[in-house]
């Protein structure tokens, strides 16, 4: 476990985010067999999504979209409502918060299901910040599978020639549905950074402090106007592609060996070992998470479905020029 210059309360916040993610995952996954769980990858999510400014732009990986949205300030109940397509969701049942965070929080998600283009949108948001002379940055996250899309290449090249404040993060969980890293990704994602004129580092994606450290370095560079960075966080998808995935395409021994490297358990041990938190404090975090998430989910479940009012078939075009 790396230990960078992070203050203790940051560590607890990171832990809290991981626990929230795990809890949300379990509760929602039981409800929806097609849920794309983040189990085992929470250290990447927490390390990357923690501590961004409201005005920073975030295009999260689709897997982990709700926790990213929550970290950016979105309301849990409304997020669940958005996943359940309820009237009370940020999108009034018209779209899905499981793959698309509310843009109110400067989140960019999938508006159709295509992986890749949102990385370009995030890059453009960083261009807007540069034009405006703001030091807000953009964080663009994609999977090992998504890294093969040409969008990533184009966005990295553009961000580097224009010195845009973008942090590119590859959440490498070593699978894209059934496709293992070896047949999906040639060479190394981190090593591509150099080819595009930016720092490229690989970090242990099961070590939340290592991820957070790398992010801080990259964010500082981005805010300083020095250009983009690339971080590859190596982890493992211990869950199925979705909750009810039969997973007959991979070796369960490998899955087990990664399960034994659970990032939350490891960080909990670190926190108690270092005396940053007691077991009881950690238990309290867990209890709060369970309580809040259960309550938010129950409330969202009870929320009304959208009705004719929410259809908005006449609101596809934004009504008037704002100028």
């Amino acid at each position: 476990m790396s230990d960078g210059p992070l203050r203790n309360d940051t560590s607890l916040e990171l832990h809290r985010l991981m626990v929230f993610s795990r809890t949300l995952d379990r509760i929602y996954g039981e409800h929806d067999g097609h849920w794309h769980g983040l189990e085992g990858e929470e250290a990447v999510a927490a390390g990357v999504y923690h501590g961004l400014r409201p005005t920073d732009i975030l295009a999260p990986h689709y897997r982990g979209m709700p926790i990213a949205s929550y970290a950016k300030g979105a309301d849990l109940r409304r997020l669940f409502a958005g996943m359940l397509a309820k009237k009370t969701g940020y999108n009034r049942g018209r779209h899905r918060n499981d793959i698309c965070g509310p843009p109110e929080f400067n989140l960019i998600g999938l508006y159709t299901g295509s992986l890749g283009p949102p990385v370009g949108y995030a890059t453009g948001a960083a261009l807007a910040a540069k034009i405006d002379g703001r030091d807000d940055i953009a964080v663009a996250v994609f999977g090992d599978g998504g890294s093969s899309r040409g969008d990533i290449h184009e966005a990295m090249n553009l961000a580097a020639v224009q010195k845009l404040g973008v942090v590119f993060v590859c959440q490498n969980n070593q699978f894209a549905i059934s496709t293992p890293l070896e047949t999906g990704v040639a060479g190394s994602v981190a090593a591509r950074g150099q080819g595009f004129g930016m720092p490229g580092v690989e970090v242990d994606g099961n070590d939340v402090l290592a991820v957070k450290d790398a992010m801080q370095t990259a964010i500082a560079r981005a805010r300083a106007g020095e250009g983009p960075s690339l971080i590859e966080a190596k982890t493992y998808r211990v869950a199925g592609h979705f909750y009810s995935d039969a997973e007959d395409y991979r070796d369960q021994d490998v899955v087990q060996s990664w399960r034994s490297r659970d990032p939350i358990a490891a960080f909990a041990a670190f926190l108690t070992d270092q005396g940053i938190a007691s077991a009881a404090e950690l238990q309290a975090i867990e209890d709060t998470a369970t309580e809040q998430i259960k309550a938010a989910f129950a409330a969202a479940l009870a929320d009304p479905n959208p009705d004719e009012d929410d259809l908005g078939f006449d609101t596809v075009y934004a009504a008037e020029a704002s100028a």
Binding site: H34, R94, H95, S114, R149, I177, T179, T183, F313, V316
Partner: protein
């Protein structure tokens, strides 16, 4: 004859062609051991192995691009694009592929099938029906089976065709529809031929894919009201079987065209343009289009239901063609 689902029929069609032609191969994301999204390639990996059922990285343009390049070399690739929602990632490859035969004065051929799943249904995601874009590409064919039998027969014909073919596979048909499917490996359903799936006298309903089912439901209801509707299943959307469409409209004098895509820019308008030109003298009523509104597909099931044109909308459109007060200025 073997009774099978739409999905099984698609796979059976591919498997037969792979058995008799060593140049046929399958490529796409998760088409191998995993068996394809929604089991679209189930069993092919076990029978033909990794050499002919090839998993690809997530790079749609280059997957189709690689298939185009392989096809130029005489192979007969079948790409599983996963979802039609990804069509926007491969349009450049399709337009190039569609031009190659003509531009090379016949020297190049691109025998390529691109399969894509779409449609509002149980899968609840990746619904966009974008097939109409491809009809505006010269040299490309667009095929949309509505039954298990056609799924197999059109797939076999598409694989044997020497042109790029986009085969759109509606996900609501995938595991829900079953039918008796011929076993003869020589049997195909030719591209470019529509089918009159229900004969009628009073009105023609032109549809494809999932809309054929809805048109048939509507036709049953209308029959009880004394309206005899003929249902034409296009099967091949481009190039259009003009003769079958025109013959039907000449006979019935009325036309309703149904499609799941948004109406604006949709292939339904091609059918309408054909009839408004070449069947004008036979028309007794306005031509009605039953299509999705010009709106992104909404997510909640209740909104989806309002969004997607159903049998009731087709019925209403047909009834309206029998009202005389229509459309006066």
């Amino acid at each position: 004859m073997t009774r099978m689902t739409f999905q099984q029929a698609l796979v059976a069609g591919i498997a037969e062609e792979m058995r008799c032609d060593p140049d046929v191969f399958v490529l796409g994301e998760d088409v191998g051991l995993f068996g394809g999204p929604l089991k679209s390639t189930e069993g092919l990996f076990a029978e033909f192995g990794a050499g002919r059922v090839i998993d690809m990285p997530i790079s749609e343009g280059t997957i189709v691009g690689a298939a185009v390049g392989a096809a130029m070399q005489g192979k007969r690739p079948v790409v599983d694009l996963m979802f039609l929602e990804f069509l926007g990632l491969v349009m450049q490859q399709l337009i190039d592929a569609g031009a190659m035969h003509y531009y090379s004065a016949g020297a190049a051929r691109v025998p390529l099938v691109v399969r894509a799943k779409y449609g509002v249904g149980p899968h609840h995601g990746h619904q966009y029906d974008l097939h109409s874009w491809a009809t505006n590409i010269p040299g490309v064919k667009v095929v949309a089976p509505a039954s298990a039998e056609d799924a197999k027969g059109l797939m076999k014909a598409a694989i044997r065709d020497d042109n790029p073919v986009l085969m759109v596979e509606h996900m609501a048909l995938y595991h829900g529809v079953r039918g008796d499917v011929p076993d003869d490996p020589d049997w195909i359903v030719p591209l470019g031929k529509a089918a009159v799936v229900r004969e009628g006298r009073d009105v023609t309903i032109v549809a494809s894919a999932m809309m054929v089912k809805r048109a048939q439901q509507a036709a049953k209801v209308l029959a009880d009201e004394g309206i005899s509707a003929e249902v034409v299943d296009l099967r091949t959307i481009a190039p259009l079987d003009e003769d079958t469409v025109l013959a039907s409209v000449h006979k019935t004098g009325r036309l309703v065209v149904a499609c799941e895509a948004i109406g604006r820019g949709s292939s339904a308008n091609d059918v309408i343009a054909l009839a408004a030109d070449r069947a004008y003298a036979s028309l007794k009523a306005p031509i009605r289009r039953v299509a999705a509104p010009d709106v992104p597909v909404p997510f909640h099931r209740d909104l989806e239901k309002i969004y997607v044109p159903g049998a009731a909308e087709i019925e209403a459109a047909v009834r309206s063609t029998f009202q005389s007060a229509e459309a006066a200025p």
